[in-house]
Symmetry: C2
Subunit: 435 residues, 2 copies
Amino acid sequence: MSSFRDDGALALDWVASYLERAGELPVLSQVEPGQIRAALPASPPEEPEPFEAVLRDLDDVLLPGVTHWQSPRFFAYFATTGSEPGILAELLIAGLNQVGILWRSSPALQELEELTLDWLRQLVGLPAGFHGHIEDTASTGVLASLAVARMLHPDRRVVVCSEHVHSLADKAARLLELELRKVPVDDQFRLRPELLELNDACAVVATIGTTGAAAIDPVPAIADRCQTTGAWLHVDAAYAGAAAVCPELRHHFAGWDRADSITVNPHKWLGVPMDCSALWTRRPEDFRRAFSLVPEFLQSSDDAVNLSEVSIPLGRRFRALKLWAVLRCYGRAGLQERIREHVRLAALFEEWVRGEPAWEIVAPRHFSLVCFRREGSDAENERLLERVNDSGEVFISHARLGDRYALRLAVGNFRTSEDDVRTAWDVLRREASAL
Amino acid sequence: MSSFRDDGALALDWVASYLERAGELPVLSQVEPGQIRAALPASPPEEPEPFEAVLRDLDDVLLPGVTHWQSPRFFAYFATTGSEPGILAELLIAGLNQVGILWRSSPALQELEELTLDWLRQLVGLPAGFHGHIEDTASTGVLASLAVARMLHPDRRVVVCSEHVHSLADKAARLLELELRKVPVDDQFRLRPELLELNDACAVVATIGTTGAAAIDPVPAIADRCQTTGAWLHVDAAYAGAAAVCPELRHHFAGWDRADSITVNPHKWLGVPMDCSALWTRRPEDFRRAFSLVPEFLQSSDDAVNLSEVSIPLGRRFRALKLWAVLRCYGRAGLQERIREHVRLAALFEEWVRGEPAWEIVAPRHFSLVCFRREGSDAENERLLERVNDSGEVFISHARLGDRYALRLAVGNFRTSEDDVRTAWDVLRREASAL
């Protein structure tokens, strides 16, 4: 094997060049299912190959199969950013290769995880008293939180949420054998609290920033109801939570400080590469009771509480290092600046849509997501979406809001400029005229 | 922010230097609980800081809190390796920042994941017909497999395993509300198949290479019994599975080809940085039935089956890229060479222990783990372990085997040499004499 330093210089150069040219590549991969696999050998090599060969095939074979989440013109789902300090921190994480199975297996991992989650708690304006740790995704965080709720209320096998809840709640409920009761939403796609029936519910999942429309459930009213019945309140702010870094957007988060658990994904809108999902709880002792199992082979003489005692997997990566690197290299000011710019760009796009005949906005915009459509049928809008994405110039996605098909433009990549958003609008209008 | 290329060169140099000096640092971190956190600011910075500041604090503040899993003298738990190609692949993964939520969100991620798991299947000698995907840890893989078993046998709420099963089975059973029935082991710490009672069992978890003693459950006999009752058979070979890359060790895996699902962790003994746990199943359609939920916002016109439909989290990292890099840069021959060398070193250590009065081997050695103890009480052996680990020269761990406290020396780091194993033996004897 050639030297790590030489191979590393090649890998670093590859990533630097990739970031420079990501904006020139078709955003949505244009390959057919099976095409990438068919272009690779069906069996592993017998003898060692140089790392350069890996880089060469990454360019020649894999890259056409990459949908460019790092492109400034990625506007689908919720756009994300693997920021520069976050990327380099992943190199450090892999170099150290810490395996957090208990405190002593990596004191730095555990203590930095608890510290950075407390930093992030302060940044988003949550009060003291929330204990945080990192999960891979919000799916796992919700699963863990609902498992705790089920333990606390063994006779209540219902979880309540809005009909716009993310599918993670369906999956968690299925795994935990709980019934998921979906409450209708109002004309702004918010859970209607007057329809809440919580007597048999162990938990409510409220969302601040739903996947479809970034709608905001009425958390204060829901928290009141949970307080009465003792139901666990989980707030899913996986996407929107980042916005709470800006004081002027914090009113959208009224009441979330009353939650029993909260998820916010720094890998969505805070520049941390996939994966890094923050889970805070005001009831860490309940989490510990639900998950703690310290087998003999992990018993040690220190008194530390291990993070594996409050979550599902035993082993964890040193994800805190990338969160720490991003929080330091941007600082509060740098994160606020990017979030404000994304909100400004989304507002601008919204204004363009509102100003154009035959186009309409179909949901209130609170953050950096715009839901809109063009006049015509759902099928026509779907066809428009396909044409736009097939162009490779931008990538947007869709949602079903009420009984209508909606197009979604989500600003969230740190490299996105006003020009990129204007390109999206130009492509949309061009493809609409061509239909 | 300074340039990515400049910061990257610093980060790369940091990792290269770290790998060069990892062997000189105290293997087990010597800090007290709370010490690392107390040395860091309680609040995040307001303004951006340079990436260099992160690297400086990594050296000055965090490194004393790192237990060096990359040290050649790490012999605790199961020793692992973040190999050079694996580390650099993590840099690429973060640079690309793929989020695998469905096929089209990254065709390369999904197809490379399926391909590399098929490569690995071939390397460990499993037959065609197993479909593989990657989970974060074996905990998640077992949880998913048992969820499928529960779905298939809704009236059987029991999972059967040996009393030496990893605590992951306890955690999964608790989450799935299944009863875990532990079967006694024989004098080689293997499940006693004549004690299996499976009429009410939805699944059996058999282990090849238990955590305590790397014991091998009698999988062929267990598979026979599962076949009769229809119970799902999961084989946990998280550590030992790597050894199946060597044909001369493959007899230990007799019968695992009859399992319904199998876990092997490339992040343990195959050089892949944390995290990368392989999960194969002969019944991917059952997994899909248990986990598939494709919400509206993810529906697309292609026909691809998405990996999120066979596992718990919706989003996944591009972990396949590091597995691919490692399999290519070592090749079958390179992996075999390292596993054989580790088995040779463990056999050598075993021989030294057997040849020394007052020391004994307490479990059969099949792979690269040696379980041993010194004459005297459990408390004396525990005290010996503490002295050895406090020296910082090597790090070993322990297990309870039967009614006795055992010391464990696990060879598994690619950088470990015969000199390192000899150092472990020297330190053990030195500290034993000093007791």
